[in-house]
Amino acid sequence: MALKHVNALIVGAGAGGGVVAKELATAGLSVVLLERGNWYSAADCRKDDLRNQRTTVLGNAFGPDEDRNPRVLVDDRGESIVWPSESGYSNNAACVGGGTFSYGAQAWRYMEKDFRMRATYGAVAGSTLEDWPIGYSDLEPYYEKAEWELGVSGDVSNNIFQGRRNQGLPMPPLSPNQEYQILLPAAKRLGWHPFDLPMLRNSAPYNGRAACMRCRWCVGFACEVNARTGTHNTVIPAAMATGNCEVRTGCMTREILLDDRGQASGVAYFDANDRLQRQTADLVIVSGGAVESARLLLNTRHRLFPNGLGNRYDWVGRNLHAHTYPAAVGLFDYDTYDDIGPGASIAICDFNHGNPGLAGGGMLANEFIRLPYQFMNQVPPWVPRWGRAHKDFVRDAYKRTVVIMGPVQEMPMFDARVEVDPKVKDYWGIPVARLSGRKHPHTLEIARFTAGKAETWLQEAGAVQTWRRIPGPSLSGGQHQAGTCRMGNDPKTSVVDRDCRLHDVDNVYVIDASVHVTNGGFNPVLTIFANAYRSAHRLLEAWKGSKVRS
């Protein structure tokens, strides 16, 4: 039996898709929200340190399914099949809420210069660095809407580098943990501007959900008390409560259906029982994340779009990037561990911009609580990797380290890309994503610089020994994946317009981090939320003008 026609079909119930579903359903449009993963709840926390969304040695807790979703990775070692729990796969998550179900929930606004990287720094050789077609002021009201509607805690009043804001955050910060108290005076002595990390995490009851109970099971886990905020416990339930939105889980989209004129008429997807379904819709909104959104467009072939939908000028899948995370670790001569989660608490933006000779920078903050197995990554390079010396170090240092790290804004690369593989198919027979490319050398240069600042901070705070961790040059993707369906005014050098509508077809939108031209020196989620609110607003204006109604 044919499925009932709807106004809007959204592919992917993550950060972008969740917000759009709520906005469209609230405006009265009929919406179907397709999600390939499952709907998990607070009861799925499980506190499993080896199987969660951050430490995946025994698998991902929140998708995608390990055995059904291979990708192909092309790197220095050649061409290989990789699986969701492996490094190089560039996984985010596959569940209702997407990455927001199990993330760290830092709630950053990008800075004004983050939208004007090319204008600020000029061309960077070998990079497709460019300005966004929108600016901070276009997003500002929607940043505020995201902060208040979803709920952000923190105190950013001492962040002198942020763009203009009309009001503060709706919730105060969590009370400071010990790392905060160690790092705050040190940053001030250095003349920096430390402040309380903004987080999508309740510090007090908000919107009917409880406050954070300060446990150590945070990033990578379900929040057991629902204090951490994602689309799964805010906008998606709100969308459903309108009666206009149906969420279908376990549904893998194969392609966007196009009519003779090349207009979208819906999607073809495999439902939870692996039956092929056709859902027709007036509008198709692609919100699968930078890898899967690009894959879906490239898997949508048509006489008019032989190289994939939106790909007339070969920009779909290009510029895949995320963040490079340099870190410094400091060893103290007293216990710094206090078991008060989430751990990350204090940040500076003194080195996001204005660094001599560098095209950008990144925020720095202390790291979330390190669980015992995660501590393996904090052991310095001069300690033997096994035997008595390694065990001695872990026993001695586990409770005495502080880690400072931060996302370096990356220089986008045209050849860092998502394609569809010509041979390898997933469980459903759909060609899989094929990832290739690497980081720009200047990104690593910036990373070395900010790691040095992180180390300075730890030394000033009294660390008796410090060391740095600088990432390698391999391709960035993962949870902060972005860039593959660039937003721009020129159809020849971008995929969607400033309203996130495909240049090629006027009833298909891409609303997720794929459209980010650059990705800021910050965790991207609040920008994904804000841009989704803004794009939904623009979409509804067009809809009310009947421009797209079939």
Binding site: R46, K47, D48, D49, L50, R51, V57, L58, G59, D67, R68, P70, V72, L73, R77, G78, E79, S80, I81, V82, W83, S85, E86, S87, G88, M213, R214, C215, R216, W217, E224, D339, P372, Y373, F375, M376, R385, W386, G387, R388, H390, K391, D392, V394, R395, Y398, K399, K423, V424, K425, D426, Y427, V432
Partner: protein
């Protein structure tokens, strides 16, 4: 992180979604293990203990890291069965060549020398068993290792793992 599950495309493109063909401990007779033969189990146990040796605190042997590895070789680590079978054989071959005996028969000092060799000569297997030993020692007891939470007691992680709440999974020791 070890990455030996990566399937290089020249080997098999169509096998993308196929499972492992290596059989599970069939015919391992009186083995107390699920995957390992009794002999393999003893060898892995000894390797783990050299990677994380007992001192004033228990080592990998007492934490039963080998049980973690064996159990996971029937679950998430099915893809590593071949690597273990071959890696264990390589360790014994290296032991015989260097000291004229099987790995488990050597004194601790000589075992350490053999592993130092293996770290270079069988790097992929070494990285695998290094990571798995750490997981079996420092990871959650529910997966078969870290018996009696010995590593968590060693580093002083407060327990229960969530302050004021105790409805987490109880450890299921091997």
């Amino acid at each position: 992180m070890p990455n030996s599950r990566r399937q290089f495309l020249h080997a098999s493109v169509s096998a993308a979604v196929a499972g492992s063909a290596i059989s599970c401990g069939a015919g391992n007779g009186a083995s107390p293990w699920r995957f390992f033969t009794a002999e393999e189990g003893r060898t892995v146990d000894a390797i783990c203990e050299r990677i994380i040796p007992a001192d004033r605190d228990p080592g990998a042997k007492e934490a039963r890291a080998v049980n973690y590895i064996d159990l996971q070789l029937t679950r998430a680590f099915k893809r590593y069965r071949k690597a273990y079978r071959e890696g264990i054989a390589a360790v014994d071959a290296a032991s015989r060549k260097k000291f004229g005996g099987r790995f488990v028969e050597l004194p601790a000092g000589q075992q350490t020398e053999v592993i130092a060799d293996i770290e270079k000569s069988s790097a992929a297997f070494f990285e695998l068993i290094l990571a798995h030993t750490r997981q079996g020692f420092y990871g959650d007891p529910r997966h078969g290792g870290n018996r009696n939470r010995v590593s968590w007691k060693m580093i002083g992680v407060p327990f229960p793992p969530i302050r004021g709440r105790e409805h987490y999974d109880q450890p299921k020791v091997g």
